[in-house]
């Protein structure tokens, strides 16, 4: 049951297994059939399950989500692919004004077991609209579950849980990690509510998700060379975010760094920090720090290395919450911010 797979293939496996198990599961999206998706995540599925269940859709994102809603009315469990993060906005209206609210609006009479897959995040060196992290827009919308994953195992079990959910789930797939391999046990199940603690450590809690998880794990290794222990938490679920796990951790470490690729303003890190301050202010030994994309549009790819949370930027924030020398403390000394 355990196999070594790249993350993208693990998602493909989850889709194939769901298609095989439930004839109400259908896939819909641009280029997902013959081409197997621009990232080949759906490779081979149309050959296996036919054009009626793995549907190449016309180039219209609003229609992809809107028709998935109609299919769900009819008892189907559509899984739709939005080709890239930057292209979800034409579908945004259907997602937030329709998909997210139908269960509520109909007082529970209608269920929307729709899964929306969005390859997201940077570091693939492409052009505009191919590297964004729009998860906060969805986290802000009641009625949606928003999840992500950071390893092939997580990818497989997250996708299965999303498809099984009777609520709409937006799955953010860390596209830069599609090719990273790991063991996948197809019997592992997960819920859509909880974070996981990846490394135990006494000094600083680092909460992150998606593509930033590996960077944080690398930071934990680097920090341990200096005798500092990081507790890395993979949030996995962006909405609802598992604050209990983060608070438990902060109660032990007293320090928090939150990292993600999206800009900081009104983001997942805003939510995490606000909750921790509300619930564990007494446990904090230092103000929490955020390491995120800046509050600018995603830059041209030549500069993305400066924009994204890097190992060094995470370590710098760790130094700062520990009261050690960091660029942030120096900035405060020189008053250089403005």
């Amino acid at each position: 049951m355990t196999e070594t797979l790249p993350l993208g293939k693990a998602i493909g496996r989850a889709l194939g297994d769901a298609l095989a198990e439930d004839e109400k599961v259908v896939l819909l999206g641009e280029d997902i059939g013959k081409l197997g998706g621009v990232f080949r995540v759906t490779d081979g599925l149309q050959q296996q399950f036919g054009e009626a269940r793995v549907i190449d859709s016309p180039l219209a994102e609003s229609a992809i989500v809107g028709t998935a809603i109609g299919m769900a009315y009819r008892g189907y469990r559509p899984i739709v692919e939005i080709q890239f993060d930057g292209f979800m906005f034409p579908a945004f209206d259907q997602i937030v004004t329709q998909l997210a609210r139908l269960h509520y609006r109909t007082a529970g009479r209608v269920r929307m077991p729709v899964t929306v897959r969005i390859p997201y995040g940077g570091h693939i060196g492409s052009v505009e609209h191919h590297a964004e992290s729009p998860e906060s827009y969805f986290a802000h919308t009641p009625g949606l579950r928003v999840v992500t994953c950071s390893s092939p195992q997580e990818a497989y079990s997250t996708m299965r849980a999303a498809i099984a959910s009777d609520d709409p789930v937006i799955v953010f797939e860390p596209k830069a990690k599609y090719w990273g391999k790991g063991d996948v046990d197809t019997s592992v199940v997960r819920d859509l509510d909880t974070a996981t603690v990846l490394t135990r450590g006494r000094d600083v809690t680092v909460a992150c998700y998606g593509p930033t998880v590996q960077t944080a794990l690398d930071a934990a290794v680097a920090a341990s060379d200096e005798g500092i222990e990081l507790e890395v938490i993979d949030l996995r679920s962006i909405s609802p975010v598992d604050i209990d796990t983060v608070v438990d951790s902060v109660r032990r470490t007293g320090r928090l760094v939150v990292a993600h690729e999206a800009p900081a303003e009104a983001s997942v890190s805003s939510e995490v920090v606000a909750n921790v301050v509300e619930r564990a202010f007494d446990a904090l030994n230092a103000p929490p720090e955020r390491v995120t994309g800046y509050d600018t549009p995603y830059p041209p790819s030549a500069l993305e290395g400066h924009y994204l949370p890097s190992l060094d930027r995470i370590l710098d924030a760790v130094d700062h919450v520990l009261g050690r020398r960091s660029s942030r403390s120096e900035l405060a000394l020189t008053g250089g911010a403005r």
């Binding site: 013959k34 016309p58 034409p90 052009v127 609209h129 600018t296 041209p300 500069l303 400066h306 250089g336």
Partner: protein, 372 residues
């Protein structure tokens, strides 16, 4: 040719059954009642210019493609095979008309005078907008499919309000026809009778998806449903494209409202340098379309007319070789932007928040430098 602007829109549609054409693949010229009146000024010199323009467009495309394979550009959407559609329409425009393109209109950019450095910077990943749209009256590449059709329509609404006789032209693909934006653009353009041209290059594929997946009827036939007259032309026939675009522009300038042009052409290369077209189309189809090559066609036509083709080809070659050299220089001497430019131009006046993040980033960079 005079156009009765008060007549019903559908009456001005043509080519819906069979694309309008002037030159056939052998280079022979045929009479065309709709288009011929537009071409009386096109003499051998004009034909030669069109030939050189197309050759140049092709060479720029080929060099950029090669540079991407060599790792100099991050991505390139090739325009091979679509030279007639772009040059024919581009040469019909006047300087003050405004072009809203997608990401494949390299020939248009070159015709508008965009420099190679400006053209390629986006594809080098060093900027999001390589040139000043107002300076060249051409918007920079649009990645979001179809969004530009609304911008063109809005620009044309502005032109109308100003009483100007310039035109906005939007370039889009066959796949784009399915997007809501494009359909909404046609509603507005038709309702407000704006001086806009929708120029659809039907190159038969949207990445892997054949055009029949986007439309059960000819794309041009859709426009008539919005009350927009349509012209469907052989997109590999530069003369047919030139003439059709002239008709559309005249109609717009005279207050006749929008026109939809479908140029039926073919994308010979992959969608972009990251695409693998062997997964979704066969060699036979590609070979068939290679036989309809727009440049070969014009060359044959020139030869049949007794033009000195050797000389024309040589002239084009000299221009192309020079362009290839210039293009390579532009890429290799392109500047890497400084990191802190990330924070520039988010707002016309930086917010406190962005100024702080800029300072923070600079301090961070300095601290890293201090360490190494």
């Amino acid at each position: 040719m005079s156009i009765d602007v008060s007549a019903r829109a559908a009456e001005h549609s043509a080519g819906l059954d069979e694309p309008l054409a002037i030159l056939d693949p052998s280079g022979a010229r045929h009479a065309n009642a709709v288009l011929d009146g537009q071409l009386s000024d096109v003499d051998e010199t004009a034909l030669t210019d069109l030939y050189v323009d197309m050759a140049l467009a092709r060479r720029v495309d080929q060099e950029a493609f090669a540079l991407t394979r060599q790792g100099e550009l991050v991505l390139w959407p090739p325009s091979l095979g679509q030279e007639a559609a772009q040059v024919g329409s581009g040469r019909a425009l006047r300087e003050t008309d405004f072009v809203f393109g997608s990401y494949r209109e390299h020939a248009l950019a070159v015709l508008r005078g965009v420099t190679f450095r400006e053209l390629l910077a986006v594809w080098q990943g060093t900027t999001q907008s390589g040139w000043d749209p107002q300076a060249y009256r051409m918007a920079t590449p649009q990645i979001i499919i179809g969004a530009q059709t609304l911008h063109a329509t809005g620009y044309a609404m502005g032109l109308r309000m100003d009483g100007a006789d310039d035109v906005a032209i939007a370039y889009l693909g066959d796949g784009a026809m399915s997007e809501g934006d494009v359909n909404e653009a046609m509603v507005f353009a038709s309702t407000f009778r704006v001086p806009a041209v929708f120029f659809c290059q039907n190159n038969h594929y949207a990445i892997s998806e054949p055009v029949r997946l986007q439309s059960a009827s000819p794309l041009a036939a859709r426009a008539t449903g919005f009350g927009i007259p349509a012209l469907r032309v052989d997109g590999n026939d530069v003369l047919a494209v030139l003439a059709a675009t002239r008709i559309a522009l005249q109609r717009a300038r005279r207050g006749g409202g929008p026109t939809f042009i479908e140029a039926v052409t073919y994308r010979i290369g992959p969608h972009t340098t990251t695409d693998d077209p062997t997964r979704y189309r066969d060699d036979e189809e590609v070979a068939q379309w290679r036989g309809k090559d727009p440049i070969d066609r014009l060359e044959r036509h020139l030869a049949q007319n007794g033009a000195r083709v050797d000389q024309i080809r040589e002239e084009a070659q000299v221009r192309c070789d020079q362009a290839a050299r210039d293009l390579r220089t532009a890429v290799t001497t392109g500047e890497m932007p400084r990191a802190e430019t990330i924070f520039d131009h988010v707002y016309t006046t930086p917010t406190v928040r962005i100024s702080e993040q800029r300072a923070q980033h600079l301090a961070f960079e300095a601290s890293i430098e201090g360490e190494s």
